[in-house]
Amino acid sequence: MILLDRVSKTYNRKGATALERISLHIEQKEFVIIVGASGAGKSTLLKLLTREEKPTTGKIIVGGIDYEHLHDRDVPKLRRKIGVVFQDFKLLPNKNVYENVAFALEIIGISSKEIKHTVPRVLDIVGLKGKEKSMPQELSGGERQRVAIARAIVRQPKILIADEPTGNLDPKHAWDVIRVLEKINKYGTTVLLTTHNQDIVNKLKRRVITIADGKVASDHASGEYTL
């Protein structure tokens, strides 16, 4: 599903190497946790996957698409296959819950009829049934993050990237979000989760990849938080 072959990324302006010869292979339907200290290169890794950044060297293949041959104009098509959830939610403040989720479908030309059919089902999956009309600022952090997850999965992506989705949440809400991610993974979506939360990492008993100084420091099938 995701293949990185000796991928390096150097930021010219800073002259710093963010990633150094990273090689990874992630299978379909896997649930992978990526841990690492701030500045270790986690975010750069995710940005390479969503093509917000291009690698300096190395090969990236996601869902059969070789990024080397990916033209700029085809980047939107790639992003439609990858759902992304951010630490700061990135919801539109002037749209309600329903509209925020529907937005992801509107921009790719899904008909209003289909949107009306799909959005409530997805809100049900993330446990937000009945909150359709709420505005983001009326929701708790955990609820907001679940809106963001609903928006990310409403197009049924093969891959869901969650970049520290629990970073701003208290433990109870953090676990709500993790449970939703596990549910989505069970339905067949590959999930990539980055987190600093030791408790979550240790209790999930999933594959853990530790990044340190731009390199893969460890990669365990049922790993623990070792930083």
Partner: protein, 314 residues
């Protein structure tokens, strides 16, 4: 897939209209400048056509009068006329008899009693003449050469009148026309540049106001055209409305000028002709204004969105 494109097209149009309303004040400001630009274009266009027409009109009235001696026989006169017809530059010849000349003179000076008295006290002193209309009044050398031949000269009672003073006036008007035309072009260029800058800034501002939404759109995989489209539609609306307003304004001005003021001319400008020209060419004029308005608007917002898309690596 086709229906999906159709749905997106509809959403782009709607998005543009919403942008336009959300940005109302900026849109109106941009539109106002655009109206000025398009009105200058329209004014230059119409005044140019009108002045060209006026000059043509005056040129048509230029004639050369060949005055004949009283003793010339009808045969000699007809012979002279047929020789003159041979000259390429001569378009038409009209014979004005002594009686006709007197009648014309009386008519022309009907308000001047002294002149009328003077002429009635003597026998008709006015010569008969041949009035020539020329194809091109600027080229008279050939005609002059012909009339100056001794064989021809002997039939002439007076120096030929080449409407010299009138030609001078025409040259002056032609000079003014050229000046107005050039000033029009300079004005159009300056205001077009200002319009482009203002619309460019309006769209930049609209992009800035919506930057969070746009970056989310990008991350969710909205296509470049879906992001850019609403801004192009917004500027298109500015261009179209400005064109309609400028044409409407022009129509209102003509209506007021001709009906309320009853003015028939404004300086050199023959308002009656301008008004007729505007009415006769209303649809082409509207088309040109719309085309120009849309072109200026879309070009500027295209550059602004291009800049955003490039900087944000969408």
């Amino acid at each position: 897939m086709k229906s999906r494109k159709f749905v997106m097209f509809g959403r782009i149009i709607k998005g543009g209209a919403v942008n336009f309303l959300r940005n109302a004040w900026l849109s109106i400001a941009a539109m106002a400048v655009m109206v000025v630009t398009l009105s200058i274009v329209l004014f230059s266009f119409i005044s140019n056509a009108t002045l060209t027409n006026t000059i043509q009109d005056i040129r048509d009235r230029i004639d050369v009068s060949v005055f004949l001696i009283d003793e010339i026989t009808q045969e000699q006169r007809e012979d002279l006329m047929s020789q003159l017809k041979e000259i390429d530059n001569v378009r038409a010849i009209e014979y004005v008899s002594k009686d006709q000349a007197l009648a014309d003179y009386v008519e022309l000076n009907k308000d001047n009693i002294d002149l009328q008295l003077a002429i009635s006290q003597t026998d008709n002193p006015l010569p008969a003449s041949l009035r020539l209309k020329l194809v091109n009044p600027d080229i008279i050398d050939e005609l002059k050469g012909f009339l100056d031949q001794p064989d021809i000269k002997k039939f002439q009672s007076d120096e030929t009148s080449y409407s010299g003073d009138r030609k001078e006036a025409i040259d002056k008007i032609a000079g003014a026309t050229t000046f107005i035309r050039q000033a029009g072009i300079v004005g159009v260029v300056i205001f077009a540049a200002i319009s482009v800058l203002i619309i460019f800034n309006t769209i930049q501002m609209a992009i800035f106001n919506r930057r969070d939404e746009l970056s989310i759109m990008r991350l969710l995989g909205a296509s470049r055209w879906y992001i850019r489209g609403p801004f192009l539609v917004e500027s298109l609306l500015i261009g179209v409305l400005a064109a309609l307003i400028s044409v409407g304004l022009c129509k209102a001005i003509f209506t007021i000028a001709s009906e309320t003021l009853g003015a028939s001319s404004f300086g050199l400008l023959d308002i009656a002709y301008s008004s007729r020209f505007f009415a006769d060419n209303f649809w082409p004029i509207l088309g040109i204004q719309l085309g120009l308005g849309m072109f200026i608007a879309v070009t500027s917002s295209f550059i602004a969105t291009q800049r955003y898309l490039r900087l944000s690596k969408a």
